[in-house]
Structures are given as C-alpha cells and as structure tokens.
C-alpha cells in the first residue's frame, strides 16, 4: 500500500474474467502518519481504508471486464462489515466478484481476509463511465501495469 498516494492495492494475484472474480494483495505499511492519529499508542488500519481497498479491487475487475474502455466510480456502499482489527504490517487478501453488470453501473461483492480469517466485506455499486480524459486513462493503464494487471487478461474481456 502507498497510503500517501491512496494506492491501497499492491498487486493482482488472480484475475478470472470467466468467473468475474479478482484477488488482490495489499500489505498494510508498518509506518504511516495515519497511525499517529488512528490511534496514538494503538495503531489500527482505518475501516474506511479497508472499504477503499475493496473498492479499488472491485474497480480493477470492472476496468478489466470492460477491456480497459471504461472507468468505475464508487457510488454506493451497502452492508459494509468491519469484522476485526487490522494492524500495521498485516498482509491482506482482497477479493471481489462482479455480481451484476448493468447499463452504466456494476454491483460487486467484496471481501478482505488476513491469514485466512474474514476481516471485512461489503456490496459496492459503481457508476461505469467513459474515461473523463485521455490522461486519466493513460495513468490508469500505467497503474494497472504496476500492479500486474496483464494486458492479455484484459483482452479476454
């Protein structure tokens, strides 16, 4: 994770467009200014950032499923559950399943596990729009390459 850049996902572990599933890995940094405030003397990964990790994982799946043609924007978070504390240094496995691909929107069920135990889950809805500009599309492609979202996997979509 590069929390200062709001990049919650480190790498794509598995992308299965046929089953509409994705698994990402995200390691919580051992040090961050965030932990100085959340909380002093008892550092915990903020729950909203766990939700963001699920949103980014889900977003990459939508990007891949649309063949990198469209951009998902988070619109709704339902039934978000933060089941246990997450502390600095933990390795998170974030999975998401594309439950429904509508016209201009997508609904995904996402989960986080750490050491095999359930950490968080939520149902997320995204508006799926054209990229607002070419610069954003290019930056997203670069970030996709950085986290291992393979071009040939995207082409399968």
């Amino acid at each position: 994770m590069r929390l200062e850049y709001f990049q919650l996902i480190d790498r794509i572990v598995e992308l299965n467009l046929a089953d509409r599933k994705i698994t990402c890995e995200a390691t919580v940094p051992t040090a961050s200014t965030i932990f100085e405030g959340h909380f002093p003397g008892y550092p915990l990964m903020p729950g909203v950032l766990l939700v963001e990790a699920m949103a980014q994982t889900s977003g990459w799946l939508v990007v891949a499923a649309t063949g990198f043609e469209r951009m998902p924007f988070l619109a709704s978070i339902k039934d978000a559950k933060l089941r246990t504390f997450v502390t600095p240094g933990q390795v998170l496995s974030v999975t998401s399943h594309l439950a429904h691909e509508g016209s201009g929107f997508a609904v995904l069920n996402a989960k986080i596990k750490a050491e095999g135990k359930a950490v968080a889950d939520a149902t997320l809805t995204f508006r799926v729009l054209d990229f607002p500009n070419a610069e954003m599309a290019e930056q997203m492609r670069k970030q996709a390459d950085n986290i291992g979202l393979k071009i040939e996997a995207r082409a399968d979509g």
């Binding site: 709704s76 016209s103 201009g104 929107f105 609904v107 809805t125």
Partner: protein, 93 residues
Amino acid sequence: MSSTFETIANIIAETCDIPRDSITAESHAINDLGIDSLDFLDIAFAIDKAFGIKLPLEQWTQEVSDGKATTDQYFVLKNLSARIDELVAAKGA
C-alpha cells in the same frame, strides 16, 4: 403489463421506502416519486435481476439528452413496464 407494473412498483416501494399506495401506473419515477439517479441504479439492479434483462439506461439517457425521446417514455411507470415487457419478449425471441 399489470404484473410487470406490480413488480416494479413493489421494487420501488421497497428500494426507496415510498408507500406502495402512492405509486401508480401514471407516476413518473423522477418527477412524481422523486427518485434520483443513484436510487434508480438500485431499482435498475432489482429490475434486471427480477426480469433477467439489462435495462438500457445509458441508451435511454442519451436519447433524452439528444432530444430524441422524453423522460415520460421511459420513466412513467406504465411506459417503463411496456419497455420491460418488450425487453423480456426480445430476450425470448
């Protein structure tokens, strides 16, 4: 048509917490029932699932933006019901 309307009226009532009695076939989802675009995504999701279709919301929105259609054609519930029936029939054809 009536069963389609009943289904979508129940979906709207449940999704948007609108009294079922206030939803009629003549209701306009946006102008009369006050449903915004985000709530309509939930409704579209439920309709897609209930009928096994994909409401072409982007196409409809584009047609309205281009002046080729009015919102009444898609968002007055009796008309929405008719559009859904057409999509279901097209799927089975």
